[in-house]
C-alpha cells in the first residue's frame, strides 16, 4: 500500500469518527435505540465505491475500534461490528452487480446493519422482545440508507476519481 493510500484511508477514518461523534451529540429523531441516520456510513460507502470492499472494511473496523476506545466503550462495539460487517458484505455484493446506484447499495446496507444488530441482540438477550423493533428498524434503515446514498452520490460527483483530474495538479 502506498503512503498516499494510507493517508487517504486515515483521513477517511478521521472523517467517519467525527461524523459519528457529531451525530451522537444531536438529539435522537425517535425514542427507539438503534434508530439513527449513520452519517459515518457516507464515508464507508464512499470508500467502497472508490477503493473496494477491503478498504471500506478496514476503514470501518478501525473507525469502530477507535470509537469504542474513545467514546462508547466496548459494550456497544460488538453490536456495531456485527451490523457493520453484515451491512458491508451485502452492500459490496450489491455494488458488484453494477445494477444499483449508491442509493440502492446504501439502502440494503442500512437495512442489513439494523437486522444484524437486532439478530445479535435477540441471541445475546435470549429474548424475542427485540423482534418487536424489527419493522421499525427495517423502515428506519431504508430511510437512513436513502439519505446516506444521496449524500454519497453527491460527494462522488464532487470528487472525480483520483488519477484523472488532480486538483492542483502534480
Amino acid at each position: 500500500m502506498k503512503t498516499r493510500d494510507v493517508t487517504f484511508l486515515g483521513l477517511c477514518v478521521a472523517l467517519a469518527l467525527i461524523l459519528s461523534y457529531v451525530e451522537s451529540l444531536l438529539p435522537p429523531l425517535v425514542p427507539v435505540p438503534g434508530v439513527k441516520a449513520g452519517l459515518a456510513n457516507v464515508v464507508i460507502l464512499y470508500v467502497l465505491c472508490r477503493r473496494g470492499w477491503k478498504a471500506a472494511g478496514a476503514v470501518s473496523l478501525v473507525r469502530l475500534l477507535l470509537s469504542a476506545a474513545l467514546f462508547t466503550g466496548f459494550g456497544p462495539f460488538f453490536y456495531s461490528l456485527t451490523g457493520a460487517a453484515v451491512s458491508l458484505i451485502g452492500s459490496a455484493l450489491l455494488q458488484k452487480t453494477g445494477r444499483f446506484s449508491p442509493v440502492g447499495v446504501s439502502v440494503l446496507g442500512g437495512v442489513l446493519h439494523n437486522l444484524g444488530q437486532v439478530a445479535l441482540a435477540a441471541l445475546v438477550l435470549e429474548s424475542g422482545y427485540v423482534l418487536y423493533y424489527l419493522p421499525v428498524l427495517v423502515l428506519s434503515g431504508t430511510l437512513a440508507g436513502v439519505l446516506v446514498g444521496l449524500l454519497t452520490g453527491w460527494v462522488l460527483r464532487l470528487t472525480p476519481p483520483a488519477g484523472r483530474h488532480l486538483p492542483g495538479g502534480r
Partner: protein, 120 residues
C-alpha cells in the same frame, strides 16, 4: 443510469413494503398486557399489574421518572431527563411495547399474558 435509478426505487419500495407488513403483523400479534415491568440498567427492579391504577416514583442514579398506570395503560408523566422523550412516548398497554428513557437507563416494558409464545 436510468435503470440504476429504477432498481434503487424498486429496492426502496420492497423494503418499505416489507417493513409496513411486518409492522401490521406485529400489531396483529399484540395483545393487551398484564404487567408493567420496570428495568433499570437492564435489571428488573419492579413489576406492577396493569389492572390496578398506580403512580410509581422510580429513582435511579441518573434521576427520577414517574410511572403512571391508569385504565390498563402505562405512561411516564414526569421525568427530569434532559430530552423528556420518555414522556412524549405516550401510553402503552400491549404486550411487547416499551417506554424507554435512555438518559436514565430505564425501560418500562409491558409483559404477558399474550407474549408467552414470543418471549424467550
Amino acid at each position: 443510469m436510468a435503470t440504476k435509478r429504477k432498481n434503487d426505487w424498486i429496492l426502496v419500495l420492497v423494503f418499505l413494503g416489507l417493513g409496513l407488513c411486518a409492522l401490521l403483523l406485529v400489531r396483529g400479534l399484540q395483545q393487551p398486557g398484564a404487567w408493567a415491568v420496570v428495568l433499570q440498567g437492564g435489571e428488573e427492579t419492579g413489576r406492577y399489574p396493569l389492572h390496578r391504577d398506580a403512580a410509581i416514583s422510580i429513582e435511579g442514579p441518573e434521576g427520577y421518572n414517574l410511572l403512571v398506570i391508569e385504565g390498563g395503560a402505562a405512561y411516564i408523566s414526569e421525568a427530569d431527563c434532559p430530552n423528556g422523550l420518555c414522556m412524549k412516548a405516550g401510553k402503552i398497554s400491549q404486550g411487547g411495547q416499551s417506554l424507554i428513557c435512555l438518559p436514565h437507563g430505564l425501560t418500562v416494558r409491558i409483559e404477558g399474558p399474550g407474549l408467552d409464545g414470543v418471549s424467550g
